[in-house]
């Protein structure tokens, strides 16, 4: 096992308060990508 994620980074990844705001941010961002529309490619 090689430590590739620093203690600080891991703390940020697992901190519920930080992650709550990340959850809001991710939800919006995922919604933008998914609901952002789709279409054809042949007449683009």
């Amino acid at each position: 096992m090689t430590r590739r994620i620093s203690k600080y980074k891991r703390f940020m990844m697992m901190n519920p308060i930080v992650q709550f705001f990340k959850f809001i941010y991710l939800s919006i961002k995922v919604l933008i990508v998914v609901a952002g529309g789709h279409g054809g490619t042949r007449n683009a």
Binding site: M1, T2, R3, R4, I5, M12, M13, M14, N15, P16, Q19, F20, K22, F23, Y25, L26, S27, K29, V30, L31, I32, V33, V34, A35, G36, H38, G39, G40, T41, R42, A44
Partner: protein
């Protein structure tokens, strides 16, 4: 009045049937033909496979819902396609065979005006000698029953590890052309976390085996993505996660045979190797169901409908990787020979893989097949339903709704461990799914702002939120249609 028959009640079939029923008046018939009596939210099978959810948490029976929503439901399997009818039946039909109840074994010609083939894939375990869920210490998480069996076996091994037994776990793809690396990726991380939770992580050696050329290929040729303020390749991200969790990996491996506790595979270098294990979860290859199609006079017209999966408006002209383009990918999922037949989701035949094709020195294809699961299945099913609705309402054959995987985004929220405070998830979005190297030449065919990765507890919450949201949506509860596919 029109009759629309939907074959299959998985993500694509159920989405199509739901939207058709909501938007069409009751004078039109929506019929679902599916052998499986339950709807299952497949992405959560991972959690059944580690014992953190029960099958009942991820499924519900279809018959009561369809009865309530005025969707005609036949628990039957499709046998053959007759898009021109036959000498006795003027209308096109699908020959179906009931699989339960008093009618079990009885065959019926289910006629249609429009047909949506959403039969998904056949889990082609037979393509790999010895690969079968529950045999030779191999398991699957492709269905909830497979996932539950995997957990029962793993739980037993955890007990043995607590008594001091060391074991080897092998997770990945079980065939040179398997797809769905994402599901195996989720499972290996969840298994690793569960072993830590049970305080037996040091008793297990965990190995990833895959037909990918690079880690993080996922059958999508990998990704260049935004990661925080950095730009990172998906293989770098997955390598970081695997190293951090002590997971070793074998790449470019085409598993071709499984015996009791041993997987045999061929590498891209042409070497034949083997890997032993005590517990394996290997994703099989996916194939079409082998349906046959017949014309009016009973002649075989299978070639007009199928090339493994169903033929749609893709460009199937064989060409080298360098000449592939997003324009090869279908936009409307309509069969070119029969304009009233559509195949969204996994049921359509892709024009080629997305990842760069590679052969071993012995000539064996070792390339991930293109993924079409989850979100693309839902999106393509909805656009097919919308096109059929317009065809019915406006009595024309123009298809206004289009959705090429070369112009469509997708989110993959990969669970990396279960738990409200200890869980983790890897959230990856990609746009477009099929890289457009002409439009985005400097960013590996993808738009960077919409292709990003994030690791952390929020990813687990998001995956859990999506689990509940999509089951709510599938149950067609109030305002379900506001939740996007």
């Amino acid at each position: 009045m029109a009759k629309i028959v939907v074959l299959g009640a998985g993500i694509a079939g159920h989405v199509a049937a739901s939207h058709l029923r909501r938007k069409l008046s009751k004078k039109h018939d929506v019929v679902v033909v599916s052998p499986n009596g339950n709807y299952q939210w497949i992405p959560s099978n991972i959690w059944v496979g580690i014992g953190r959810m029960k099958p009942k948490d991820i499924l519900f029976p279809l018959a009561p819902l369809y009865a309530k929503k005025h969707i005609d439901y036949k628990q039957a399997k499709a046998v053959s396609f007759h898009p021109e009818g036959d000498q006795e039946e003027a209308k096109p039909y699908v020959l179906s065979e009931y699989v339960v109840g008093d009618d079990k074994g009885k065959r019926e010609k289910v006629t249609y005006d429009y047909l949506i083939n959403a039969t998904g894939p056949k889990l082609n375990f037979e393509a790999t000698e010895g690969l079968s869920p529950g045999k030779n210490k191999t398991h699957s998480v492709c269905t909830y029953t497979h996932a539950q069996e995997a957990w029962i076996e793993l739980e037993g091994l955890i007990k043995e590890m607590k008594q001091g037994k060391k074991i080897k776990i092998l997770i990945g793809t079980g065939h040179a052309k398997s797809t769905c690396q994402g599901a195996a990726f989720e499972y290996i991380l969840n298994v690793e976390q569960e072993l830590r939770r049970h305080k037996v992580r040091d008793m297990a050696e965990i190995t990833w085996i895959s037909n990918e050329y690079n880690l993080g290929d996922f059958g999508m040729d990998g990704m260049l993505m935004s990661y925080g303020s950095n730009i990172m390749k998906s293989n770098e991200m997955v390598e970081m996660i695997f190293e951090d969790r002590g997971i070793s990996w074998i790449l470019g491996a085409g598993v071709n045979k499984v015996e009791d506790g041993v997987a045999y595979y061929e590498t891209l270098d042409g070497d034949h190797k083997e890997e032993s294990y005590d517990f394996a979860m290997l994703i099989p290859s996916f194939s079409g169901h082998g349906f046959k199609a017949y014309g009016k006079a009973g002649e075989d017209i299978t070639d007009k409908l199928f090339r493994g999966f169903m033929i749609v408006d893709a460009d199937y002209t064989p060409k080298p990787y360098e000449e592939w383009s997003v324009q090869d990918w279908p936009e409307t999922y309509q069969n070119p020979s029969y304009s009233n037949i559509f195949a969204p989701g996994i049921a359509f035949a892709p024009p080629h893989s997305i990842s760069k094709p590679r052969k071993s020195k012995n000539g064996t294809d070792i390339t991930p097949a293109p993924p079409r699961t989850g979100m693309p299945s839902g999106i393509t099913a909805k656009l097919v339903a919308d096109n059929i609705i317009e065809m019915i309402k406006h009595s024309n054959n123009e298809l206004h709704h289009k959705g090429s995987m070369g112009n469509m985004g997708a989110a993959c929220i990969a669970s990396a461990g279960f738990g409200m405070t200890k869980g983790s998830g890897i959230s990856i979005t990609t746009y477009p799914i099929v890289p457009d190297y002409k439009k985005y030449p400097d960013t590996h065919g993808r738009k960077l702002g919409k292709t990003f990765g994030s690791i952390g507890l929020a990813g687990h919450w998001l995956k859990l939120a999506l689990h509940y949201a999509f089951i709510y949506k599938a149950k067609m509860k109030p305002f379900w249609w506001l939740i996007p596919e």
